[in-house]
């Protein structure tokens, strides 16, 4: 981040805040009613139009000198601090912003590049990302390796100055309109699984990569699976040392788990009564209770209060975790607490939304899409506990890495990966 910049050189936060406020007012389009962010179910042309618009917004930030607030200036960032990022997020409330760039392009992909890339690799890609030219994807999960990422079977074989990749990646959200992939692959099958991995970056749209789209249960077709056939990647696009990909992947997962609190991403504060809130707290659920005619029902009011409590708890826990890690008073592994909390709080809020909406979320009229969306959200509730690493894996990490409890028995420990067993469900279900 910006540890190399002396604090004296940095613009005072309040001056920065005012400059940002002015600039946003003059340049950034307002979010307006009906503005959506997050997983959407749009026809392809509309989806592509939104992607193009977000590239434009990212370019706007770049031209205005507000792209990559906490990235080093050397790579096109602004070299500012978390306090500046917090101030900007507050000012950003109510404006549109390049949502799709935040995750996974900036965090974790750009964060991983920043940490492990060579100077040339960073120069080649970080400014391009901050300019809005490159959208990145994580090529981590495979049909047979999700939670057990180190069991990756996509193979990379050395050929002169190049590597040749074969295999399949899955569950990438939006790969069909993205540009680059950060890819975990196996470079050595004769050592235990963690010691035979390497990380590469590759353009997604090239002849050796076939992308097929997977329909989610809510009708979204953003999920993709990629089939890699003899894809050639120059060795200069390898990130980190050969067979040392797990070192990169470990930090990669750390960045992924801190997505909701990283200073690198933009997260406009949602205005609620003049106070910052952490996304949807009680306010929108109160509206929902009112629409449902339940504003006088103490049961409904209690649910609104509960939602408010949980959002605040998530926000304060994230702050505590970040402060503990930043102050070196606890290990990086504490981010698993944030990851678990996010899953637990998000699912509960979705359930509360569905309950408050009542029958209208199960069957709704055309002009009632907002309430109907509560029902559809409910069907995909568990996305919050699966995507980005499951909550079970977070619980394992908390128990083992934070509390120091004994590790789970692993039958593949110390065994050359070639000899490790895999089950019949490995990927068979992926293509239906």
């Amino acid at each position: 981040m910006s540890a190399d910049v002396k604090p004296v050189d940095i613009e005072p936060v309040e001056e920065f805040r005012l400059r940002a406020r002015r600039w946003l007012r003059e340049n950034m389009p307002l979010a307006g009613p009906g503005y959506r962010r997050g997983l959407t179910t749009l026809p392809d042309e509309e989806e592509l139009a939104e992607v193009a618009e977000e590239r434009r917004l990212q370019r706007l930030l770049w031209d205005g000198g507000f792209a990559g607030l906490c990235f080093p200036t050397e790579y096109g960032g602004q070299g500012l601090t978390q306090a500046h990022a917090d101030a900007f997020n507050k000012e950003l409330a109510g404006y549109r912003y390049p949502f799709r760039f935040q995750i996974p392009t900036i965090v974790p992909c750009a964060a991983v590049l920043l940490e492990f890339g060579t100077h040339e690799q960073k120069l080649a890609h970080i400014p391009a990302i901050l300019r809005g030219d490159e959208l990145w994807m994580q090529f981590l999960s495979e049909p047979g390796a999700g939670s057990d990422l180190a069991g990756s079977r996509t193979s990379a074989v050395r050929q002169g100055d190049d590597w040749v990749l074969n295999g399949s990646k899955i569950w990438t959200t939006g790969a069909w309109w993205s540009d680059w992939g950060l890819c975990l692959a196996r470079t050595n099958w004769d050592v235990p699984k963690h010691r035979g991995l390497s990380v590469f970056m590759l353009p997604i749209h090239q002849p050796g990569i076939e992308i097929s789209r997977i329909e989610m249960l809510n009708g979204s077709k953003e999920f993709c699976q990629e089939f890699l056939t003899d894809v050639v990647v120059p060795d200069s696009d390898r990130i980190g040392a050969v067979d040392d990909g797990w070192t990169v992947a470990t930090r990669w997962l750390f960045h992924e788990r801190s997505i909701h609190s990283s200073p690198l991403t933009l997260r406009p504060a949602v205005a609620s009564g003049g106070h910052e809130s952490y996304g949807e707290g009680g306010a929108s659920l109160l509206e929902l209770a009112e629409v449902a005619g339940r504003l006088d029902d103490p049961g409904a009011r209690e649910l609104v209060g509960e939602a408010h409590v949980l959002k605040a708890a998530q926000r304060e826990l994230d702050r505590r975790v970040q402060a503990t890690i930043a102050g070196r008073k606890g290990s990086d592994q504490l981010v698993s607490l944030s990851r678990l909390m996010q899953g637990v709080v998000s699912t509960r809020l979705t359930t509360i939304g569905y309950e408050l909406a009542g029958a209208d979320a199960a069957a709704w009229a055309d002009d009632d899409e907002a309430v109907g969306a509560r029902g559809v959200n409910y069907l995909t509730r568990q996305v919050a506990c699966v995507g980005g690493g499951t909550t079970e894996m977070a619980r394992n990490a908390i128990a083992e890495r934070v509390l120091g409890m004994p590790r789970e028995l692993a039958l593949d420990r110390g065994v050359p990966f070639r000899e490790v067993r895999s089950g019949s469900a490995g990927g068979a279900a992926a293509r239906g």
Binding site: A313, E316, M405, P406
Partner: protein, 383 residues
């Protein structure tokens, strides 16, 4: 508990921790179970010397904090009280002392001197038994009579009501609230000790039957005490949640140690994933509870407009997940967790009592819903 402490705060914490460990180890707490006061004479005045009673009191009244953040300092002490399940009228005396010091005037000087020295105890009489208006409802009434005031009503449960020399009583007066400082020996005051779940903390029911008091007994503006009462409630909740979190911290620590030491089927309990996942959830509740209790203390200092909100958020969260965490600790101990001999119940008691007093989680969720609605209405009015 807070992450960044000043050297003075570390000292306050350390002396409190060592004093409690020396004087009220858990074996002593068990013996105090039948003691009517819940603590030995001398325990409280020595604690007062360590600073327990003066943190919310202005320097001119003989008080003073160690960090310019008296409530934050007191929250640290309360956290240690929770970790030790320590006896004594910590919450009740401090809330009254803070209120008297803010009200100021000549009359409070002597009273505050005795409270700060630990020579006398004051009880905060706010809660009423099953108030008709719901949580926070006040039915006690105080009316001017000649130059005097006459107070009638019932307060319960009053923390250390039977040990207190003074009561700070919240009552209705006309359209507003009034607070009166009532000597325990006044005619018309009846104190009835209550049975309680806590081993050493005591509660009482205090009835005021046409108690006649001089005008000087009024603290602050008669009829205009609502904002001050709300502030006292926030302070009480900050102390209460800090103490509950301290107790949770200790209960969790004991249980993690137990799970590592106890074996079944040839392996430690801590090696079973079914139990590890429960520990992970408990750790999350615990850390969120720490974070919220701290945030409430910080808001009380820095952001008066959000102090009530964060105090209610902290109480609603800690009051719900805290008892769950403690019960899980009992469960994971197996049979031994249900014995009087084991320490675990000392913390379970403190947390369970805290959850029920000064508003249940439900009360605070409803308070927050009201707040969310009020803000929404204000926003609409602005637009």
């Amino acid at each position: 508990m807070k992450l960044d402490l000043t050297a003075d705060q570390e000292l306050l914490l350390d002396t409190t921790r060592r004093y409690l460990a020396d004087v009220v180890p858990t074996a002593v707490l068990r013996k105090l179970r039948d003691d009517p006061d819940g603590y030995e004479p001398g325990y409280w005045s020595t604690g007062a010397e360590l600073g327990w009673t003066s943190l919310l009191v202005a320097e001119e009244h003989g008080g003073g904090s160690v960090s310019d953040d008296g409530l934050g300092d007191l929250a640290l002490v309360a956290h240690e009280f929770g970790r030790a399940a320590a006896p004594g009228p910590l919450l009740t005396t401090n809330v009254v002392a803070g209120a008297l010091s803010r009200a100021g005037g000549d009359a409070v000087a002597e009273t505050l001197g005795a409270l700060c020295a630990g020579e006398s105890v004051a009880a905060w009489c706010w809660s009423e038994p099953r108030p008709k208006g719901g949580f926070g409802g006040i039915e006690a009434v105080a009316e001017p009579a000649g130059g005097d005031w006459v107070l009638s009503g019932v307060k319960s449960p009053v923390e250390h009501g039977a040990q207190a020399d003074l009561f700070l009583v919240t009552a209705r007066s006309g359209d507003g609230l009034v607070q009166l400082l009532v000597p325990a020996a006044s005619a018309g005051v009846t104190v009835t000790p209550l049975k309680t779940l806590d081993v050493t903390r005591r509660f009482a029911r205090v009835a005021f039957d046409a108690v006649r008091l001089p005008a000087a007994a009024v603290v602050g503006e008669p009829g205009g005490a609502a904002a001050e009462v709300e502030r006292q409630l926030v302070e009480a909740l900050v102390i209460q949640t800090a103490e509950m979190v301290g107790a949770l911290d200790k209960a969790f620590e004991l249980t993690v140690a137990w799970a590592n030491d106890r074996y079944s089927f040839g392996r430690p309990l801590a090696s079973y994933q079914a139990l590890k996942h429960r520990f992970a959830d408990m750790k999350m509740w615990l850390e969120a509870s720490h974070a919220l209790a701290d945030a409430a203390a910080v808001a009380a200092r820095d952001e008066p407009a959000r102090a009530g909100e964060l105090a209610s958020v902290a109480k609603a969260y800690v009051g719900h997940y805290g008892p769950e965490l403690c019960q899980d600790c009992v469960q994971l101990h197996g049979g031994i967790g249900l014995t009087f001999e084991h320490d675990l119940h000392l913390y379970l008691r403190r947390v369970a009592v805290g959850a029920a007093l000064l508003g249940t989680p439900r009360d605070h969720r409803l308070r927050l819903a009201d707040l969310v609605e009020r803000r929404r209405d204000e926003r609409k009015a602005e637009a």
